[in-house]
């Protein structure tokens, strides 16, 4: 579905991605973990051409997103939903307008139809009552859910999550995790999640990739991941008090 081919990227004089190659399968939830500054968000942004690789290329299906321009780039981007770390809601628009923005701008749907779809997506993230509110009136977790509702309003094939649980309390984080899982099971979308929250990664990922210093050090299923002998992964796991015991392959909410 998404394929990185020898991607190099320098930002501000520092090598952020160093010859990265991997492939994300359709329908899976691919989690990229790593320390801050390891290049997780950067690799995510390459998928929608918010950044362009210095060398190598990024393929989405058959299309090369790294070289697309204009309309073709728009078409590729329309296949994605992107949940930003800060949710990136437009502050002066109500929640309803924010979620409905892509529909209003890109389609000819009537206002009523847009409203209906917006309410539908808000219901999916349990925020039916927030329709008239402004983003400033919402808590961080609620904003992220609104961002998620906006990301899925156009029924994308792929949803990209940039740190969906950062800055949230553990309970809200688990709610978000459950949402991600639900979206995958209900809509059948491919998900790419960037996080440094290993609990979250292990709970939602079908495969987990570890980025360290611009290199991909491991790509494995959650079960294999926690048992990895890689020293960076071990350090990462220990830092979050995760032992190699237990069965991590299952989602906490198997329902």
């Amino acid at each position: 579905m998404i394929r990185f081919e020898h991607v190099h990227k320098r930002l501000g004089g520092r090598v952020v991605l160093d010859d990265i190659s991997f492939e994300i399968e359709a329908g899976e939830t691919f989690v990229i973990v790593g320390a801050s500054g390891a290049g997780k968000s950067v690799s995510l942004k390459h998928m929608v051409r918010l950044l362009t690789p210095d060398a190598g290329r990024v393929m989405v299906g058959d299309a090369c997103v790294s070289q697309a321009r204009g309309e073709r780039l728009d078409h590729i981007r329309e296949r994605f939903g992107f949940l930003f770390q800060s949710a990136a809601l437009l502050q002066w628009l109500t929640v309803g307008d924010n979620v409905g923005l892509p529909l209003r701008m890109k389609t000819d749907l009537s206002d009523d139809e847009v409203d209906r779809q917006v309410r539908d997506r808000l219901a999916m993230v349990n925020l039916q009552d927030a329709f008239e509110k402004l983003p400033g009136e919402l808590s961080g977790g609620m904003r992220k859910r609104v961002g998620l509702a906006r990301a899925i309003i156009t029924d994308p094939e792929i949803i990209l999550y940039d740190e969906p649980t950062s800055g949230l309390d553990p309970v809200t984080s688990r709610t978000i995790d459950r949402l991600i899982n639900r979206l995958r099971s209900e809509l059948g979308v491919t998900s790419v999640v960037v996080t440094h929250d290993l609990h979250s990664a292990l709970a939602i990922g079908s495969r987990i990739a570890m980025l360290h210093d611009g290199k991909m050090v491991e790509i494995a299923t959650p079960d294999d991941f926690v048992r990895s002998r890689n020293e960076f992964i071990q350090g990462f796991l220990e830092a979050q008090y995760i032992t190699t015991q237990g069965n991590w392959g299952q989602t906490p909410e198997a329902s």
Partner: protein
Amino acid sequence: MLLLFRNTGTAMCMLLEAFRDMPFMLSRRHRHDVLHQQFLTAIKSLGVITVVALFTGMILALQTGLELRRFGQEVYIGSAVTVVMLREMGPFMTALIIAASVGSAMAAQIGTMTVSEEIAALEVMAIKPVRYLVTPRLLAMIMMMPLVTIYTNIIGVVGGAVVGHTQLGVSITAYMDNATQFAENKDLYVGLLKSILFGIIIATVACHQGFATTQGAVGVGQATRRTVVVSFLVILTVGYMVTRLFYQ
């Protein structure tokens, strides 16, 4: 120097793109944005513009009046104030106020959006940031700047009349008569042309600085400051060139 050229270049590209997207503004979705920007540009600034215009007119009348009084020609403040307001001070003062208030607000808003990834979010949603953010602002500026300038002119001339009447003993009728005798339509329309150019400058500089914002809240502050400074400079230069063009 290279940076200056590069910035000018990107700003011009953005301006071109914004102009190219003008037709989209007719659509129902965008009309609302344009209207909102018109509201912000014009109506919200009317208060401060009224005060500034009134006092500009009053100062002009007082200064020229005191000089002209030495020759016993106080009645000429009518034409002095009107011609200066129409040709220069009206568009110029309006542009300065709008640049400092609306322009800096634009830069701060777009800058914040850039910093908090909202611009990136728009791009990912395949919504062109220029079309969505710049074009409505540009259009609103182009439409409202001349109107606000006319308003400034009127208030300035009225301010001059008040000073003329109270301080210099020039009756309102004599003032208006003198004003209309010397001011020409050309003065008015060259002034309006200037105000349109100033509007384009303000919108372009503000939006460009907003998009070019980096480094969080500090960057937003810098973008705002640069917007005001750069628009002032460009307004002054362009103002001089237009004056030079029409009044050889």
